[in-house]
């Protein structure tokens, strides 16, 4: 089913007016921005939960909102699967009662209907079916909320910070579920997060939002290294997210082809050759070399060229960290490396310089595989 998404809305909020215009045929969409940027308000406007929203919303040719012409579909007629940040499960129903809360609509829309048993399987919820929601952990609640949205036969899935509020190990466990949902069910999804890794893993097109306005928009791999975006993405340390195909897997490591001739050795067990993998490498874990290094234990030495060097202001205004954007391979895939100003001086780094990136296999973590 071809997907068309057109949003041109404005909504007055307490500190600013949210105003975005976004038209795309891409179906894995993300909104990235710091907290308080207006991300949740966008989702609520799309879901029909904000009466003050003006403008136009059109999804797959159906008009959800056309304020000037007085068209304003109520939430129940829009066909969204909304997963709010705090899950908001119905406390008076058990897990199954929550998952099937939207089954009436699903029954009316056979084309979009998903088999609840399959949804439960993909999200590994089968063992939780009869549980009271009060007894669920944070990660379980998120998965139940996701299953509830999926089982309501939505045209558009709206995910609001599905991993926020979960601790890091749990985030790493839930992320593959989200990835799997995207791959398995192919439902157009708008994913909102302040976590750059999450957005890069799951989205094909991202809109960066700050104080209610678009800062940048495009493919995540080019948007995030952007000068206006990188500072927003740095809050919890920037992680490069790379996609590739698993070429070899043996013992505790595997080889991932990012593009022909550009391979990455990663330390991870249980990889299956031929599958797609999403790899995360933190900017702090990469080493820059101006000459081909030898005699290292690190298994990844990748040739590239410096694209740009961005300064990051410290608390006293002086730059403490430089972010070097290195273009790798024929596709010029950008990778961000964090170094000190001293390192730039010692190596005389400048845009255009050919460099080698050194990266331990241990520093490459597999975020998700298909």
């Amino acid at each position: 089913m071809s997907h068309r998404f057109l949003v041109d809305i404005s909504l007055p909020l307490a500190r600013f007016t949210l105003a975005i215009r976004w038209e795309t045929g891409e179906s894995a969409l993300g909104i990235f921005g710091p907290s308080g940027a207006g991300k949740t308000s966008v989702l609520e406007s799309l879901a029909g939960l904000r009466r003050g929203t003006r403008g136009i919303i059109q999804v797959d040719g159906r008009v959800w909102l056309d304020a000037l012409r007085g068209v304003r579909l109520p939430p129940e007629e829009r066909g969204v699967g909304y997963v709010p940040q705090d899950a908001l499960l119905f406390p008076h129903r058990d897990v199954m009662g929550n998952v099937l809360a939207g089954r009436r609509r699903a029954g009316r829309r056979p084309a979009r209907r998903l088999d609840p048993a399959r949804v439960l399987d993909v999200l590994e919820l089968q063992p939780l079916q009869g549980r009271e929601v009060a007894s669920l952990s944070g990660g379980e609640r998120q998965r139940v909320a996701l299953a509830r949205a999926l089982c309501s036969a939505p045209d558009l899935l709206l995910l609001d910070e599905p991993l926020a509020g979960l601790d890091l190990p749990l985030r790493r466990r839930i992320l593959p579920y989200l990835y799997r949902v995207r791959e398995e069910f192919a439902i157009p999804t708008l994913h909102v997060s302040h976590d750059a890794t999450e957005i890069q893993t799951l989205c094909r097109e991202v809109l960066v939002l700050n104080a209610g306005r678009e800062v940048a928009r495009g493919r995540p791999e080019t948007v995030f290294p952007d000068a206006a975006v990188l500072p927003l993405a740095r809050a919890e340390g920037y992680e490069n997210v790379l996609r590739g195909t698993i070429a070899e897997a043996a013992g505790g490591s595997g080889v991932v082809d990012l593009e022909p001739g550009l391979r990455l050795t990663v330390a991870a067990a249980g990889l299956t050759p031929g599958r797609e993998a999403v790899i995360g490498v933190r900017a702090e874990d990469l080493i820059l070399a101006v000459e081909p290094p030898t005699g290292l234990s690190a298994q990844n030495i990748l040739a590239g060229a410096i694209d740009a060097i961005r300064e990051e202001a410290g608390t006293d205004g002086a730059a403490t960290t430089l972010l070097v954007v290195v273009a790798l391979g024929r596709r010029r895939t950008p990778l961000v490396v964090a170094i000190t100003p001293r390192a730039r001086e010692r190596l005389a780094l400048r845009p255009g310089l050919a460099v080698h990136l050194v990266c331990k296999a241990q520093a490459c973590r597999v975020l998700a595989t298909r």
């Binding site: 909304y82 908001l88 119905f90 809360a101 609509r105 509830r148």
Partner: protein
């Protein structure tokens, strides 16, 4: 149950009458009380604070004042009298009048408790239900009502209790006719006035038992609902 049946001990006549009046008052007050509570909890509209205040008046006014207003309203030549309406509502000096007066006196308590009950339900849960395809009515029945259930039950118990103890408005609208409108509260007063202390005390004991049973069964119900099945 309207007359003092030969088979029923005279002590129980006011008890049965009280139960009848209080139950009727509860049935009368619940729909408008719950609706008003919902309106105040969920909607913003011009004049809201006026509505709030007006609905609370019976709580602060002397019951006799409310009773007197009702009496004037229902008098033959009053706005709801037989001359204006063309038919008789048959409320003055009947048990139905006692129920109506009790219902009005119970309205503020029921509406306030219902409002608190609805305010305790996260409105965002209703929003989620709407996104799942449930219309406003279905959302109310499937989400709002069950989640507010405990509070609404408490509202009903309060309303019932208020109706059971109502005295001032009732005596003005319905009088204190033994066997017809003389509820427990009225019978106690009447017995005391003519010096039938033993009778009065017996009625007081019955009233205490009734009140105890009401509150206790409500507690049991509330406790059962607190633990989901």
């Amino acid at each position: 149950m309207t007359g003092p049946g030969a088979l029923i001990s005279p002590t129980f006549v006011p008890l049965l009458l009280s139960l009848k009046v209080a139950l009727a008052a509860l049935l009368l007050v619940l729909p408008p009380g719950v609706l008003l509570g919902l309106l105040l909890a969920r909607r913003r509209f011009p004049g809201k604070s006026l509505v709030e205040t007006a609905a609370s008046l019976p709580l602060v006014l002397p019951p006799t004042a409310v009773g007197y207003l009702l009496l004037r309203l229902l008098a033959r030549d009053g706005p709801l009298g037989v001359e204006r309406l063309g038919f008789d509502l048959d409320l003055l000096f009947t048990w139905k009048g006692a129920a109506a007066a009790s219902a009005i006196m119970a309205l503020p308590l029921v509406a306030r408790s219902a409002r608190v009950a609805f305010e305790g339900v996260d409105a965002r849960l209703e929003g989620v239900a709407r996104t799942l395809g449930l219309g406003p009515l279905r959302t109310f029945l499937a989400v709002t009502l069950p989640l507010a259930g405990r509070g609404l039950l408490a509202a009903a118990v309060l309303g019932f209790g208020r109706a059971l103890g109502e005295f001032g408005a009732t005596i003005i609208v319905a009088g204190s006719i033994p066997g017809r409108t003389q509820t427990l509260a009225l019978a106690i007063f009447s017995d005391m006035q003519i010096g039938r202390d033993r009778e009065a005390l017996r009625l007081v004991l019955i009233t205490v038992l009734l009140a105890f049973a009401t509150v206790w069964s409500a507690e049991l119900l509330l406790r059962r609902r607190a633990r989901p099945a």
